[in-house]
Structure formats: structure tokens, C-alpha cells
């Protein structure tokens, strides 16, 4: 805590509080992000607009349609206009799914012939398509089992023998997030993202700004050392970033019921290591940009792939194998692992030593590289 460091911190805080754009960026944006990601990014799919064409109009066909609509995945928006061209409803965009129960279905079933219920699904959004397909086959299969049971019971009645109906059913049990709520998955990701935005972009732009405006030149002829200047400049933003994380987790706990099951100390350690990486990244970006605009673009272009390749939204393990190495050098991935581990699984140091070590290594490397480049550009 040298006097020069304190002077830089004070100056930086003064400039932040004086800049009308800074407060919205540092406070409003995080809250907005949390709400957007918490509410809007929802991986559960339900209420798919569905048209139904019941060509059979029997007790059986109505039971099938009812069973399709029972779990809320499909929402009946009325009968199809033309059963012969039911696919037009999906192609034309009136419905996302269409159900066609063919005429003579119950007669075929009664006679022991196979019968089909057609479910057309708009697969342009794969998530919606997958959910619809799974829900439809589940519902129809259930009806199929019913048909089978009725038939077996009839046979038993005829022969007077006991007919057992063996049923093999999977019984999935979900750990950590049994209701499969998206926010539990997303809030840690949002926290990691906010910290990345606030610290990386602020560091990159802050130093680029001093260079662009010429103030760096005046500062560097004073006895201040480069690390005092850099630390002094990033300290306020690191503080803001940590507050943002705290706020995110608090709001996450209150609004979205995101638990904090593990150790807060471990959380703090992981966050600190992560901040070293994000600040180092920002510093590095500032050494390759000449203007604030370049620094912003550089920060943005780094952040986008860092977010997408982090497992915040889709698991890294599901990415193509040639893309995965990029995720291994991504600090966001490791921090999200740490956060989810601590928040949802009550993971401890034994579980998390690998991502923590990865964060440490990445942070140390990028900081050393960036400070070396920073010095070289001054010299």
C-alpha cells in the first residue's frame, strides 16, 4: 500500500464517480443481466402451440389427445382447418406442432392391428423439437401400454388364466437441481460473466484511455512504478466486480432460490483467482490496442467466445472435440465449475483443486505476459 498506489486509487474513484456513464455500466447492467438471464433464459419448454386433427372421433382417440395435452408441454390452440393438409399449419407458422389421429385408429387397435398417431413438430428450434418429440412419444406410449393392458386383461378373461404385465420403468433421480430449474444453472454463469465484463473491459479501457489521452506519458515520468499504477487502476473495478458477484448471489438466493451450500471462503478464493485472470486479460488487451474503442472491441471479441466456450450455457463436454482445447484455456470455464460446485454441490477443496489450480496458472501467466508487454510498450 504505497502512497502512489493510494493516490492512483483515489484518482480512479474520483473519475469513476464523475463519469455519468460509469455508474449505469457498473450497477444497472449487472442487475439487468441477472434478471434477463434468470427469467428469460429458460431451458424448460412448455406450452407449445399445437393443432389437433382427430379423424377418429372415438373415446380412444380423445383419450390420446387428452394424454398428449396433460403435462402442459402442448397447448391446444384448436382444431386443424384441413386435416388433409395439416402440415400447412406448422409450415405456415400458426402452430409449432400438429397432432393427427387417423380415422379408424380405435378399430385397428381393437382388431390387434398396429396404428399410428402422427405428431408433426417444428424442429427449427432444436430444443423445442426435442422436448416436443419426447413428450409426444411418452404420452402416446402411455396410451399404448393401456391398450396392451386392456387387451391382455380381455385375454385373461377369455382363458381364465393370470396374465402378468411386466413393466420395466426407468426411475431417474436428479441430484443438486431436482426440479431442473434453469436459474440454478444460470446464476453462477451470470456471476462469472458480470465479473468478466466489469473487470476485463474496465481494465482494458482504463489503460487504453490513459494512453489515448496522453496522461500515461505524464504519469510515467513520475516515480510511480508500473505495478502501482496498474494495481491502483484496477482495484476499484475489482471491488465493484466483487460487489456485483455478491449482489448476484444474494439476488439469486432470494429471487431464484439458488442455494449457497459450500464454503464462502472457498468461493472467495476462487473469485480472487478468477479476478487475477480477468484483470490480466484486460491488461493484455490494453497493450495490443491503441484507443479506447479498440480496447472495447478487443474486450468484446474476447468475451464472446470466452462465454460461449465456458459451459455457462452448453456443457463443454458436448462441444466438438477440436473446439474443446479452447475451453481448457478459458478461465470462465474453471470459475463456473468452482461456482456451481460450491453453490449447488457443497464441493470442497478436494473436489475443486483442479479448476482452482487452472485459474491460478492462467492468472499468473496472463498477468506476467501483460505486465511485460505493458513495460515494453512504455520503454
Amino acid at each position: 500500500m504505497t502512497p502512489a498506489f493510494r493516490a492512483v486509487v483515489r484518482k480512479e474513484i474520483r473519475q469513476i464517480t464523475r463519469d455519468p456513464r460509469m455508474i449505469p455500466m457498473l450497477v444497472v447492467a449487472p442487475v439487468l443481466q441477472l434478471i434477463v438471464f434468470g427469467y428469460a433464459v429458460n431451458f424448460e419448454v412448455n406450452r407449445i402451440d399445437t393443432v389437433v386433427c382427430d379423424g377418429d372421433r372415438t373415446e380412444r382417440s380423445r383419450a390420446i389427445v387428452r394424454s398428449l395435452e396433460a403435462d402442459g408441454t402442448f397447448r391446444d390452440i384448436g382444431p386443424a382447418r384441413d386435416c388433409g393438409r395439416i402440415e400447412d399449419e406448422v409450415v405456415g407458422g400458426r402452430a409449432q406442432a400438429a397432432v393427427l389421429v387417423p380415422r379408424g385408429l380405435s378399430r385397428d387397435l381393437a382388431a390387434g392391428r398396429p396404428a399410428e398417431v402422427q405428431v408433426l413438430v417444428d424442429g427449427s428450434n432444436p430444443t423445442v423439437g426435442r422436448f416436443a418429440a419426447v413428450a409426444a412419444s411418452g404420452a402416446v406410449e402411455l396410451q399404448g401400454m393401456k391398450v396392451l393392458r386392456e387387451r391382455l386383461e380381455r385375454l385373461r378373461g377369455l382363458q381364465g388364466a393370470e396374465v402378468a404385465l411386466p413393466a420395466l420403468q426407468p426411475e431417474p433421480r436428479l441430484f443438486y437441481n431436482p426440479q431442473m430449474k434453469s436459474p440454478l444453472f444460470m446464476v453462477p454463469g451470470v456471476a462469472a460473466m458480470l465479473l468478466l465484463i466489469v473487470t476485463t473491459i474496465a481494465t482494458a479501457m482504463g489503460l487504453a484511455r490513459e494512453r489515448e489521452l496522453g496522461t500515461l506519458e505524464q504519469v510515467m515520468v513520475t516515480p510511480v512504478r508500473p505495478f502501482e499504477l496498474i494495481l491502483g487502476k484496477v482495484t476499484p473495478f475489482v471491488a465493484v466486480g466483487l460487489l456485483d458477484v455478491l449482489a448476484t448471489l444474494t439476488v439469486g438466493a432470494w429471487v431464484f432460490d439458488v442455494p449457497i451450500r459450500g464454503s464462502l471462503w472457498l468461493l472467495a478464493l476462487g473469485t480472487l483467482l478468477y479476478v487475477f485472470s480477468t484483470v490480466g486479460l484486460g491488461l493484455f488487451i490494453s497493450t495490443v490496442s491503441r484507443t479506447q474503442q479498440q480496447a472495447f472491441m478487443g474486450g468484446f471479441l474476447t468475451m464472446m467466445p470466452a462465454m460461449l466456450l465456458s459451459g455457462v450455457i452448453t456443457p463443454v463436454e458436448n462441444m466438438p472435440s477440436w473446439l474443446q482445447p479452447l475451453a481448457w484455456i478459458n478461465p470462465v470455464k474453471y470459475y463456473v465449475e468452482v461456482l456451481r460446485g460450491i453453490l449447488l454441490k457443497a464441493a470442497d477443496l478436494r473436489d475443486l483443486w483442479l479448476p482452482l489450480a487452472a485459474l491460478f496458472v492462467f492468472g499468473a501467466l496472463i498477468l506476467v505476459l501483460a505486465v511485460a508487454r505493458f513495460r515494453k510498450r512504455l520503454a
Binding site: R14, Q15, V221, T222
Partner: protein, 330 residues
């Protein structure tokens, strides 16, 4: 390093060379400045002034050569050289969103001045720069002259022994310009060494000693009055049919031609002066001899270096040197 430092020399540049890519900014610049001396580094834009001052301020290392401030390497931050140096860049370099007082305080803190010393010095500097009234005004709201004075004050808070000023009078109105020079005389009288770079030849006469910088090295060096006194050329004011006159002047012996009101100012080599005068009178032009000034000297010397006249006449390639410096940084 075992170098012999001459007594009294506080600033030394020895064979400084530096290139930005293919552009050669300094080509063997050498000069030294004594304690209490006001030294002018004079040259057109692109001559290498900014590069030289940035090297002396320790902001960059020269490709070749030696820079010393009080015997210390200015690029070596640990040598304590920063405390001896004050530097005012040509570009705006203060925090525009901070007030006059906040800027002063910030730089004082970077130099680790204690509160009492800061209060004393800032009061004195604000007094002599007449900025005290504007202490709460953001630096970006100051006029060009006031801004330069504030930058000067920021560079002086720690009482440097050597003050480097890169074009301090550039973009400053004539009254503030005089103010600035008066301030500098005051500091020099107290024993400070000051190096001022300027593209304005008329400011040369304000310095104890000047170096004419051209193409990255000194063409001439000495006390301004001695240099002008030793000028061997002849300066003519020519009035008449200027088109004819100019055609005539394309001949040998003419060093420089520049417009002077409705006339031409013509610099001619000593031997050619008689014949040229006779030819011009032959065209019916009025010819009058003028007292040479610094610019004539510069034009004569720069012209001898094969420099095209229009360049030498100081057509300002705005910020050319600075752009080069930036390109070189990347």
C-alpha cells in the same frame, strides 16, 4: 558506469540515434546543457524534437547513444532520476475531468510530497501562474494558455533540476506565451536547467543557447546572437513583378525565398549577393538589404542539406513527429 561527467553539465545527449521502422527520427544527436541554462531545441516538425525529449525524459530508450540526467540514465526508474526530472509533453497530458487542484494534488502524491510541502508549493505555483482562481475548474475547461501553465505547474511541483518542455508555446496565445517565458526565466534564475523545443524560429532569441535540429541531428549550436552574427548570407526584400522575380531567382546562389507581405524575402549566399541584386534591379524590382534573423540562418543551413525550400519554410506537417512516435510504439 564509470562515465566522466563534466562538472556543471546536468543533461547530456551523446550520439542519440533512433528509428521508427524505416523512418529515422534521430541520427546522432549530441548536446549538453549546464546547470541554470535555458537551452532551445529548434527545428521544424519531424526534425526529431519530441523523440529527443522523450528519450531524455526516460519514456523510451534510444536505439543508440547515451542520455544522462545528472549522470543518471533517465530510463532507469530505480536510479532516482525521476525526482530530478520534470517533463511536459506536447500533447494534452493532464486529467481533463479532474480539476486544477485535483491534478496538482495527484501528481504531488505520485512524487510522494507530504501534505505541508504540497500546500506550500502549490500555493506558490498557483500564484505565479495566476491559476489560483481556477482551482476548482476541470482541466479540460481551461484555455490553451492556462492549460499549459497548469501542466507546467504539475511538472514543477517536485522541484526538478532539469525541466524538459516539448513545444510549450504551441497553440498558446501571444500574451500567455510571454507569460510562459517569464515563468521559465524565473526558474532558470533559481538554477534550474530548462530545455525547450519549439518550431518557432523567433523564439530562439529567448534562449541562452540553441541547437538547430534538422533530420535528427544538430546543424548548428550556440548562443543565438552569436549564430546570427556569424551568418554569411545576405537577406533581401524584393518588391516588384513577383512572377518575373521568382523566375529569375531559380538561378544559382539563392538559398531561400519566402513571401513577406507584398514582397519576397530572399536569402542569398554571400558571393552570389552582388550578381543577384544586379539581375533583380535589371528586372525593375526594388531591392533592399535586411538584417538576417534566425530563420534565415536556419533556411540557409537546412537548404544546404538539400532540403526542399517549401519544407524548410516551415509548412507544418501537423503532428507528423507524433504520428511517427505512435507508429513506432506498436
Amino acid at each position: 558506469m564509470g562515465e566522466v561527467v563534466e562538472p556543471g553539465v546536468v543533461l547530456l545527449a551523446e550520439g542519440l540515434e533512433h528509428s521508427f521502422g524505416a523512418v529515422r527520427a534521430l541520427a546522432g544527436l549530441s548536446f549538453r546543457v549546464a546547470a541554470g541554462e535555458l537551452y532551445g531545441l529548434i527545428g521544424a516538425d519531424g526534425a526529431g524534437k519530441t523523440t529527443a525529449l522523450r528519450i531524455l525524459a526516460g519514456l523510451m530508450r534510444p536505439g543508440r547513444g547515451t542520455a544522462r540526467i545528472a549522470g543518471k540514465d533517465p530510463a532507469d526508474a530505480r536510479s532516482g532520476v525521476r525526482e530530478l526530472l520534470g517533463y511536459m509533453p506536447q500533447r494534452y497530458s493532464l486529467y481533463g475531468d479532474l480539476s486544477v487542484g485535483e491534478n496538482l494534488r495527484f501528481f504531488a502524491e505520485l512524487f510522494c510530497l507530504d501534505r505541508r510541502v504540497f500546500a506550500e508549493r502549490s500555493e506558490r505555483l498557483l500564484g505565479i501562474t495566476r491559476l489560483a482562481r481556477f482551482i476548482d475548474r476541470p482541466a479540460e475547461k481551461l484555455s490553451g494558455g492556462m492549460y499549459k501553465k497548469l501542466a507546467l505547474a504539475c511538472a514543477l511541483l517536485h522541484r526538478p533540476e532539469v525541466l524538459l518542455l516539448d513545444e510549450p508555446t504551441n497553440g498558446v496565445d501571444p500574451v500567455s506565451r510571454l507569460d510562459l517565458w517569464e515563468l521559465l526565466y524565473g526558474f532558470v534564475a533559481e538554477g534550474m536547467s530548462v530545455v525547450v523545443s519549439t518550431p518557432y524560429m523567433d523564439e530562439a532569441e529567448r534562449c541562452h543557447r540553441v541547437g538547430l535540429l534538422h533530420g535528427g541531428r544538430l546543424l548548428l549550436e550556440g548562443a543565438p546572437e552569436r549564430l546570427v552574427g556569424g551568418f554569411e548570407g545576405v537577406v533581401l526584400r524584393v518588391t516588384g513583378d513577383l512572377e518575373k522575380v521568382e523566375r529569375q531567382l531559380e538561378g544559382a546562389g539563392v538559398i531561400a525565398v519566402a513571401p513577406l507581405g507584398g514582397s519576397l524575402r530572399v536569402v542569398v549566399g554571400a558571393e552570389a549577393a552582388g550578381p543577384v541584386e544586379a539581375e533583380l534591379r535589371g528586372l525593375g524590382a526594388e531591392v533592399e538589404r535586411l538584417r538576417p534573423n534566425f530563420e534565415d540562418l536556419f533556411l540557409a543551413r537546412a537548404g544546404g542539406e538539400g532540403l526542399p525550400f517549401d519544407r524548410a519554410q516551415g509548412v507544418r506537417a501537423e503532428g507528423a513527429e507524433e504520428q511517427r512516435a505512435q507508429r513506432g510504439e506498436g
